[in-house]
Symmetry: C2
Subunit: 238 residues, 2 copies
């Protein structure tokens, strides 16, 4: 898996992306709670790798449209599979402007006052042109990455796509370039005057957890659950 090298310079320019950060732009600069903004590429990758479903917005006939999609990261590229391709196939330029978002819920923040209730989260937003992938080799790579993203180790354990299957499926790519990550952690932030209220306050942690594998009918019932599937059981990202 190759990481795209972009031109890293010593000059501080918030409008350029470097190999270690995503590109900060006017629309990715937080107006409120600036202290929650992150642009570090390693943190962005970690959220992308832990998340499983993205919400991708496009403008369709002048109206906003959200498409929930599975995706996979390969270096500094995101591959998307599914309905977004339909919005690309009709375009003249072969690309469409998207807003790509992955949000991980980390906890419920219970304050002494209703007003200061909140959630802990890591929320990534990326912008850019999404385009169809033409190269069959790149599509094969994307397919393997999509399967690996669901369950690490899975691509070596299944029948990988034939050339015909790859031809019949549209894959969309988005460069990890312009974006920002917003992170809230920690406990409630109550007003001073509320601190002595007789109210329990704190955080209820939240996580996506995978349960015991349920084999399909037929031969899978006879086969032992493979290690790569067993390893997926438990909290996501563990």
């Amino acid at each position: 898996v190759a990481v795209t090298t972009s031109d890293a310079t010593d000059r501080v320019d918030p409008s350029s992306s470097t190999s270690t950060s995503v590109r900060q732009s006017d629309r990715t600069t937080l107006r409120r709670h600036k202290e929650r903004a992150r642009y570090d590429r390693a943190e962005v990758h970690a959220v992308l790798d832990e998340g499983l479903v993205a919400h991708v917005a496009v403008v369709a006939d002048g109206e906003p449209l959200v498409l929930p999609m599975v995706y996979a990261r390969v270096g500094d590229r995101l591959y998307l599979h599914g309905a977004l391709a339909n919005h690309l196939l009709g375009t003249a330029t072969g690309s469409v402007s998207v807003c790509f978002s992955v949000t991980l819920l980390d906890g419920l923040v219970l304050a002494r006052s209703a007003f200061h209730h909140s959630v802990n989260f890591r929320s990534l937003v990326l912008f850019g042109p999404a385009r169809l992938v033409d190269d069959p080799a790149e599509k094969h790579t994307a397919f393997a990455a999509l399967v690996e993203h669901l369950v690490p180790g899975r691509s070596g354990a299944t029948r990988m796509p034939s050339d015909a299957e790859v031809r019949s499926t549209q894959v969309v790519v988005l460069d990890i370039d312009e974006g920002s990550l917003k992170v809230r952690t920690g406990g409630p932030i109550d007003d001073e005057a509320d601190l002595d209220l007789e109210v329990w306050a704190g955080v209820v942690p939240a996580a996506t957890v995978f349960g015991q594998p349920d084999p399909d009918e037929g031969r899978p019932r006879e086969l032992p659950v493979p290690d790569h599937v067993s390893a997926r059981v438990g909290p996501n990202g563990s």
Copy 2:
């Protein structure tokens, strides 16, 4: 909690919403996997009540923009709190066209072939104009619902908002009207020719799970964890 009564008629008209279904329109009619579409209002409400974070898309300067937001349902209305208000305050009409989406991940679907890997999910999409709530009483109701949505029983256990807090906060409302729910359940659907492959196939179930409450500094450490908080621990929606 009152349910809005819309004109229920005997006439079958897919463009009208009834008290028991959301309004099916051209853009909420599934083109692929039509069998996965649901319009039943009770199913829509169940997904809204189980979900915690919505992804709301708007068109900003001609470009798509996704905002992750917390929300709460009161009857056939959704109340949203946060950044969306900024996009409304500048508009002449006081309303903005949104696409509201909540997706619940229910499982990883592992097929015998990479091509048929999938996820089980319930994905709701709603369309409509979102508008600022002016009425202070309705804003108080929305605040209570937002806190109740995080942890049922919570609104009776915290200091509820003062009139000044309510005035200082923008709340946005969206009617539950035009939309659709897409649901995938069950195991992998492999090609006939792959059924005898020596490949484990099945579903790894997924759920959001809440862990042990972590009390905030100060007096909360002395207070026992209240029942409404203890009841939140475990799988979401249980």
